[in-house]
Amino acid sequence: MSRSNAAGISLASMWVGFTAFVVAALLGVYQVIERIDLIPGLKSPELYFGSVSTHGVLMAFVLTTFLVMGYGYYTATTSLDQALWNKPLAWFGFWLAVIGVLLAAGPLLTGNASVLYTFYPPLQAHPAFYLGATLLVVGSWVWCLQMVMMMTTWKKANPGETVPLAMYGTTANAILWFITSLGVAAEVLFQLLPWSLGIIETVDVGLARTLFSWTLHAIVYFWLFPAYIALYTLLPRAAGGRLFSDQMGRLAFILLLVFSVPIGFHHLYMDPFQAAGWKFLHMMGTFMVAVPTLITGFTIIASLEIAGKLRGGKGLFGWIGALPWGNPMVLAAILALLMLTFGGFGGMINASYAMNTMVHNTQWVTGHFHLIFGGTTVIMYFAIAYYLWPKMTGRALYSTRMALHQLWLWFIGMLILTLPWHQLGLAGQPRRISSTPYDESFVQAWLPAESAMIVGGAILFISALMLVYNLFRTHGNAQAEASLEVEYAEPLHAIQRMPHLMNSFGFWVLLVIVYMVASYGYPIAQFFLMDTYGTVPWSI
């Protein structure tokens, strides 16, 4: 197998992502301390909401987008054994996204974009913030195009052959991201940007929120996809076994592509302006999107069981102890699955139409997505980095021991941070507050859980520093990496004949379009059919 020509752009992308990550983790520590009025001199809503907005943008838009692009480029070139489709264009997309981030950083860091990463019109940010976000998204579309073109050209060159699972998943994610980013793109291009430039006077907040919901759910699957791709295609081999089923991976990727976009209204359950019937329809779809995750849980655990038994593990649970816990990929995967289980239970409550009432916009929700995203997803980003850094740099990982400690700390810190948050939510604490000037009875009851979250935040920050230190030192490691080849997992049953539908996307994209028209067509059209009143801009 020839050496990938994507190592440069992959490393550059992932470094941008992890740099954003460390800055955001530091802001997180400040936020948990400020939020509970621990140090009176620190109290400042200006700083706090600026920090929360920056933390959200860096974690949810910058870390994720750059990591997905970097991992995607490397996966495409190595799994297909094919050069980048258009390398100059890939770098163009990268720089476009970097310029977007820098452009948005100005207003964010000066408190002129404290509108949180979900934008929240009619609060208005500086136009450079919206423009920066747009460039980041357009830069990522270049990546989408590359992935689709690489799969297409590979299929032309290899007629009748099955697209490797890693590439099939990466392309599914590229298509998913393109479709789901159209919602926020429409909101920014037709509403927020012209409004912030004074070209239009008002925005319809109901329409803006509906468009954002189009993006808001599937974006989390855009973030999660790399984690699932690593679980299916890197983990089984790293654990010393085989993938239980290649087809189930494909099925999971297809189901995520089809079901994750047209269900965004579970973010709008509590909003007026959309009728209950539409919310009901979206709730049904929301439960269907649990199916690919349940399938993934089974397939990955079954793959680990194969590995454990091949390594001599006996009995119903003996294989768990026989797994190579000292391998960062294996350890991260186990911890990721544990956090996915906790987070999944909470997610069922958020998704259910009526029960969501008790937790909507409380700290419970913050706990939920920090577990699933900050926990499951990001810990797999670490595992991907530890696995790929030696392949991309040619240098052995600086310290595997430090990597293992870092992963454990991340897991422990995340549980200490998020489990109390669930409890705070049930005890009535709103999310997105910078202080607690409420009834004494509330504030007293919240104190123990709030103290715990400071410990959690500090542990997570130490863990974040260990990650970047280890990756940084790997570049200068004198010891060369023994094998530069990315070793993709072999399926237990060799692929005999792959059904056409599981080796292509045309039909599924058509299905998403039909489903989208059904679930978003009228809810968007209604804003043009009824008399609505736009809202003028408000400063924070």
Partner: protein, 174 residues
């Protein structure tokens, strides 16, 4: 006998069994929630009604002297509220326990939310639209109406009072 329709995409019988279990779980949960929503008519607040948020003071319903608690002919209550940075108006609401209450709320400026912890009274308040929540309060006491959506730098301080009095006391005076 019918063959397993999943057989064409999955060879392993164990895996197929698991897919059926996954599908059952998803349909079961969605079915339960769907059944209770439809049978009990339990839906989240989903009123579709527009209003010009910049002219609330000129509107029939949300002008300053119209706000507060009114008793309807059937004994139920309507609570008309305006959410504006940084408070709910009127700032104190008193209602009797175990009485159907319909909240009608409009924003005078930006996005807000309202949540009364330990009750099921909650909704988003979106400028340009009227939010409506129907509920009743079984427990008496002093509750807090918290703004639960970021609305600007003073957001933390945006909360007001809901007092639920015993039904015999009459209530409905605010």
């Amino acid at each position: 006998m019918f063959g397993d329709p999943l057989k064409s995409i999955c060879e392993d019988p164990l895996e197929r069994k698991w897919i059926w279990i996954s599908l059952f779980l998803a349909f079961f949960m969605a079915g339960m929630l769907g059944f209770y929503a439809l049978a009990g008519n339990i839906h989240p607040p989903s009123n579709v009604e527009t209003i010009d948020s910049s002219r609330l003071h000129l509107s029939e319903e949300f002008a300053e002297d119209k706000l507060g608690v009114t008793t309807n002919a059937d004994g139920s209550l309507t609570v008309t509220l305006v959410a504006a940075r940084y408070g709910f108006y009127p700032p104190v609401i008193e209602v009797p326990a175990d009485t159907p209450v319909t909240f009608r709320i409009a924003s005078a400026d930006v996005l807000h939310g309202v949540h009364v912890p330990f009750t099921n009274m909650t909704t988003m308040i979106v400028p340009g639209y009227i939010s409506e929540v129907r509920t009743s309060f079984p427990r008496t006491g002093e509750f807090s109406l918290l703004c639960n959506e970021y609305c600007g730098l003073g957001h933390d301080s945006m909360w007001s009072r809901l007092v639920v009095v015993p039904k015999s006391a009459g209530g409905a005076s605010s």
